[in-house]
C-alpha cells in the first residue's frame, strides 16, 4: 500500500503561499489514490519554478530544459511503457518556449499526463507576461499592457481531439486531485491545465480573483464526449471559469502503434542478431 508519507515533506524554494504547493499536494494525493509508488513514476519538467516540482517529490525525475519537457517525457514514455510518466511544468515552458512541442505532442498522443502550472506570469524571471496572460495586464516588460491575444490551451487541445482535457485550480485541492487521478488513468495524452496564483508577481489573477470566477462543472451539466459542447466550454474564461473535465475521447495512444512496446521496456529487449544477419544479407 502506498501512503502519503511515502512522498514525505521536502523543503522547497517556492514562495510561501505559492500555488505550486497545492498542485504538489494534489498530485501526491492522486498518486496515492492510484497506488503509484515513487519507483513507478517519472516526473519530467522543463525550467521554471513549476519545473522544480520533480525535486520536491521523491520519484524518478528528468528535469530538462526550458520548453523541452514534453519531448523528453515523450521519449521516456516510449522507451519504458511501464513507467507512469507525468510532465509537470509551467505555462511559459509548455505554451511559450515549448509551443511547437505542445502542438506536436497533442497530435502525437503519447500515453502520458501533462500537468501545466498555469499562473499567467513568468515568476522565476520576476514578472513578465506569459502566453496565457490576459490582454491589458501590465508588467515591467509590458508597461503599456499585454497586447497579445492570450493562448487558450484548453481550446487548442480540444480542437485537436486530445483524449483527456481538463482544467483545475490549485486552490481546489481535492477537486484537482480527482482530475489528476482521472488523467493518470487515461490511455493517451491527458492535459490538465491548472490555474495557479503567483503570489509574488501576478497581482491580477489572485486567489481572490480566481475564487470569484471558478465554478466546478456539476454532474450532468456537461457531456465531455460532446466535442462541439467541449469547444464551446473551452472558450469560457472570464467572469465564469469552468473547472473539470472539458473533453474526453478514446483515441489509440501512440505507444499502441509499436508492437515492440507490448513486451515491456526497450532496455530489456536486446538485439536479435539472427534477424539482423538476414537484414544484412538483403543488401547483397
Amino acid at each position: 500500500m502506498v501512503k502519503i508519507e511515502d512522498y514525505g515533506e521536502i523543503e522547497t524554494a517556492w514562495c510561501p503561499g505559492c500555488g505550486n504547493f497545492g498542485i504538489r499536494n494534489a498530485l501526491i494525493r492522486a498518486l496515492v489514490d492510484k497506488g503509484l509508488a515513487p519507483q513507478d513514476i517519472l516526473l519530467v519538467s522543463g525550467i521554471g519554478q513549476a519545473a522544480k516540482t520533480p525535486h520536491y517529490i521523491p520519484c524518478n525525475a528528468f528535469n530538462g530544459l526550458h520548453g523541452r519537457g514534453l519531448p523528453a517525457a515523450t521519449g521516456a514514455a516510449l522507451a519504458h511503457p511501464g513507467l507512469k510518466v507525468i510532465l509537470t511544468s509551467g505555462d511559459g515552458c509548455n505554451y511559450g518556449e515549448g509551443g511547437n512541442h505542445f502542438l506536436g505532442g497533442l497530435r502525437r498522443n503519447v500515453d502520458l499526463t501533462m500537468l501545466v502550472h498555469d499562473n499567467q506570469i513568468y515568476g522565476l524571471t520576476k514578472g513578465q507576461a506569459s502566453p496565457t496572460s490576459l490582454e491589458g495586464m501590465h508588467t515591467k516588460a509590458q508597461p503599456h499592457g499585454v497586447h497579445l491575444v492570450p493562448f487558450n490551451p484548453v481550446a487548442v487541445a480540444v480542437s485537436l481531439h486530445v483524449g483527456f482535457v481538463a482544467r483545475g485550480f490549485a486552490g481546489e485541492l481535492e477537486h484537482l486531485a480527482g482530475l489528476i487521478a482521472q488523467a493518470l488513468e487515461h490511455k493517451g495524452l491527458a492535459l490538465v491545465d491548472i490555474l495557479q496564483p503567483c503570489v509574488s508577481f501576478n497581482k491580477l489573477n489572485t486567489y481572490e480573483w480566481y475564487k470569484q470566477r471558478v465554478r466546478k462543472l456539476e454532474k450532468g451539466e456537461h457531456d465531455p464526449t460532446d466535442w462541439e459542447a467541449a469547444i464551446k466550454l473551452s472558450y469560457e474564461f472570464g467572469d465564469s471559469i469552468p473547472l473539470g473535465v472539458i473533453y474526453e475521447n478514446q483515441r489509440a495512444s501512440f505507444q499502441e502503434f509499436f508492437p515492440v512496446l507490448k513486451d515491456g521496456p526497450l532496455a530489456g529487449q536486446g538485439t536479435d542478431y539472427g534477424k539482423l544477419k538476414g537484414i544484412l544479407e538483403s543488401y547483397a
Binding site: 530538462g64 523528453a72 512541442h101 526497450l266
Partner: protein, 560 residues
C-alpha cells in the same frame, strides 16, 4: 580496348529515373563480381534540374572517385552540353536519336521505337548493361527486385520485353566503351551507401530509439533504420523539429533505450541546446551529422566538411564528447556500432560526422561479420540499491547508471548543476567537483581514440593528412604521386576528437612537409592539429564548391 576502371555517368533531370538505372546497374556490376564507387550529384528540387549518378567500376577494390567519363548515358541534351567535355578518349555516349552529341562516339538509341510505350529508362538501362557485357537475365531480375514487383506482374513483363529489345538492338550496333578485366571469383558482396552503413552499424549495436526531422543529406540514415525498425523492435518518430528530436532521444535514452538522432548542420544548430543537456545530465546519445555546405541553408544537396569545429564546439558550457569521422562505407558501419557503445560507456554525446559524398556513395562490400558483436546494455554500470546516487563522484568520472522503473533506485537527472543524488544545487564547491567529474571522462575517451592510419614511406617528403570522407581521394592522389617516383605518405583520421598527439605527432614531425586536405575553406582540421598537437601544416588544400574531393583536384592543387 581494355581499361583498369570505367567511369559511367548517367545524367538527366530529376524524375527521369536515372537513380533507378544507376542503382540497378551498380547492383548488376556487383553481382557480376565488380567493385563500384558511386558519386551522386543532384539539385535541391523534386523534378527537373540536372542530376548525375556516376559509377566507377573495376575488377579491383576502389577507394576513390575519378574525373573523366568513359560511358555517358545522357537522358537529355543538357547532360551532353554539360558533360561532353569530360569524356575520356575512346568514350561512348548513349543518347536518344534526337539529341546532338557533337564530336563524341555516339550511340543514338531509337527510344520511341524500342520503348513502345514502356519506360525509356528501361531501354537506357538495357543498352548500357549490354555495353558493359552484363548478363541480360541478371539485369532483368535485378530490375524486378528494384521495382519491388513479383515476376508474374504485367509491369515486369513489359520491362523484360523492353530489356530484350534493347539488348537485341545493341547486338546489331558497333559499339565498345572499353572492356573491364573479368573479376576474380569473390564472395557475394553487398551494395551499401555510407548512411545505410551508419544505420546498420547502429542497429548492430542495439539501437532502440530514433528521432529525427528530415534534412538532406542525413534522411537516409533515418529511413534505413525505419525500414528495419519493426523487425528489430526499434521505436522511431519524425519529430516536430530537431529540438524535439534530440530531447525525445534524451528522454528515451535516460529511460534505457540506446538512441540516435540524425541531421545536417542546420538541424544540428537547433540541437545544440539538447546537446548541452546530454553533457549535463550525462545521458548517452549518438548524433549523426551528414554535412553539406553552409552557412545557413547553403547548398542543400552538395557536400562539404565544414562542420567539424561546430560539432566540436556546439553546445553551451564545457563537457566531453567524441567525434568519429568514417573515411569509407565500411568505416561508417564501424562508426555506427562504436558510437553507441562509446556513448553508453561514457554517458554523453558521441558524434558521427559524414557528408553528402559519403552518405550517397554506394560501394561493394563483403558482408559485415556479426560474430563477437554485442548490443549496448544500458543501466548496468556501478552501484545499485536504495542509496543509489546517479551522479556519484568516482575516480574515472563515470557514475553508476541505473534506469528508472527497473529497480528500487530512484534515478534523478537534472539540467541544473546538481548534487550526487541529482538534485539542484547552488553549492559552488560541489559545482567544481561535479564539473571535474564530468571532464574526467575525456581522459577515458582519449585512451580509446582510434589512432590515425598512416600509409606510404615512414619519413616521406610530403605527408598528405585527411579526415573523414577525404580518405579515398587523398590515398589515390598519393598513389599516383608515388607512381611518379615521389616520396608521399598519407595519414587519415577516422576519429577527430579527442585527439591524442602521441599517436601521430612524432611520425608527422618526421615528414618533410605536412599538407592537410579537407573539404572546407578554412582548414578546420589543420587548425585543430596546430592547437592540439603543435603541428603546423605547410599547406592546406580545401575544396568548398559543393563537389567531393577527387585525386585529380588534389593533384591540380598540389601542382599550383
Amino acid at each position: 580496348m581494355s581499361r583498369d576502371s570505367l567511369n559511367i555517368m548517367i545524367g538527366g533531370e530529376a524524375g527521369q529515373g536515372l537513380v533507378t538505372i544507376g542503382q540497378v546497374l551498380s547492383k548488376c556490376l556487383i553481382k557480376s563480381g565488380y567493385h563500384i564507387l558511386v558519386t551522386q550529384d543532384y539539385m535541391s528540387r523534386v523534378r527537373g534540374g540536372h542530376n548525375t549518378f556516376t559509377i566507377r567500376a573495376a575488377a579491383r577494390e576502389l577507394d576513390s572517385p575519378t574525373e573523366g567519363v568513359d560511358l555517358l548515358v545522357a537522358l537529355n541534351q543538357e547532360t551532353l552540353d554539360l558533360h561532353g567535355k569530360e569524356l575520356n578518349s575512346g568514350a561512348v555516349v548513349v543518347a536518344g536519336q534526337d539529341l546532338t552529341c557533337a564530336g563524341a562516339r555516339c550511340l543514338g538509341v531509337p527510344y520511341k521505337e524500342l520503348a513502345e510505350g514502356r519506360h525509356v529508362n528501361t531501354i537506357a538501362l538495357g543498352v548500357t548493361a549490354g555495353l558493359l557485357g552484363l548478363d541480360q537475365e541478371l539485369v532483368a531480375d535485378t530490375l524486378t527486385t528494384a521495382l519491388g514487383k513479383k515476376k508474374d506482374d504485367k509491369v515486369v513483363a513489359a520491362n523484360r520485353e523492353g530489356l530484350a529489345a534493347s539488348f537485341d538492338w545493341l547486338a546489331k550496333q558497333e559499339a565498345d566503351c572499353g572492356v573491364l578485366p573479368k573479376p576474380q571469383e569473390a564472395p557475394p558482396r553487398m551494395m551499401l551507401g555510407g548512411n545505410q552503413a551508419i544505420a546498420l552499424g547502429a542497429l548492430a549495436a542495439g539501437l532502440k530509439f530514433l528521432a529525427f526531422y528530415p534534412m538532406t543529406p542525413s534522411t537516409s540514415i533515418a529511413l534505413t533504420i525505419i525500414a528495419h525498425a519493426d523487425e528489430l523492435g526499434v521505436v522511431y518518430e519524425q519529430a516536430e523539429d530537431e529540438i524535439a528530436a534530440i530531447n525525445m532521444a534524451l528522454g528515451a535514452s535516460y529511460a534505457g533505450a540506446p538512441a540516435l538522432v540524425c541531421t545536417s548542420g542546420g538541424g544540428y544548430a537547433l540541437m545544440t541546446e539538447g546537446l548541452s543537456l546530454a553533457g549535463m545530465t550525462e545521458t548517452p546519445i549518438v548524433i549523426a551529422i551528414a554535412m553539406r555546405p553552409g552557412p545557413a541553408t547553403g547548398l542543400p544537396t552538395r557536400t562539404e566538411q565544414g562542420d567539424l569545429l561546430f560539432a566540436l564546439h556546439g553546445g553551451h558550457g564545457e563537457f566531453p564528447r567524441a567525434i568519429l569521422a568514417p573515411g569509407d562505407v565500411k568505416q561508417c558501419f564501424e562508426a555506427g556500432y562504436r558510437a553507441l557503445h562509446l556513448a553508453e560507456k561514457y554517458q554523453g554525446p558521441v558524434f558521427i560526422l559524414t557528408d553528402q559524398f559519403l552518405a550517397d556513395s554506394l560501394r561493394a562490400l563483403e558482408p559485415f561479420g556479426l560474430e563477437g558483436r554485442e548490443a549496448v546494455r544500458p543501466g548496468g554500470q556501478g552501484k545499485e540499491g536504495a542509496d543509489y546516487r546517479r551522479y556519484e563522484i568516482t575516480p574515472d568520472g563515470i557514475s553508476p547508471r541505473r534506469l528508472p522503473g527497473m529497480g528500487p533506485e530512484l534515478v534523478v537527472a537534472d539540467s541544473d548543476e546538481h548534487t550526487q543524488q541529482g538534485h539542484i544545487t547552488e553549492d559552488l564547491e560541489l559545482r567544481v567537483r561535479m564539473q571535474h567529474k564530468r571532464m574526467l571522462k575525456e581522459k577515458g575517451l582519449k585512451a580509446e581514440t582510434i589512432p590515425p592510419s598512416f600509409a606510404g614511406p615512414e619519413e616521406p617528403e610530403t605527408l598528405l593528412v585527411s579526415w573523414g570522407s577525404s580518405q579515398g581521394p587523398v590515398a589515390a592522389a598519393a598513389r599516383r604521386l608515388r607512381d611518379e617516383g615521389q616520396s608521399v605518405g598519407t595519414c587519415h583520421f577516422s576519429q577527430v576528437w579527442p585527439l591524442d598527439p602521441e599517436q601521430f605527432a612524432p611520425r608527422m614531425a618526421r615528414a618533410g612537409s605536412v599538407v592537410v586536405i579537407e573539404g572546407n575553406a578554412t582548414g578546420q582540421f589543420a587548425g585543430l592539429l596546430k592547437k592540439e598537437a603543435g603541428i603546423i601544416a605547410q599547406r592546406f588544400i580545401g575544396r568548398f564548391d559543393g563537389l567531393n574531393l577527387t585525386p585529380e583536384y588534389i593533384l591540380r592543387q598540389l601542382a599550383n
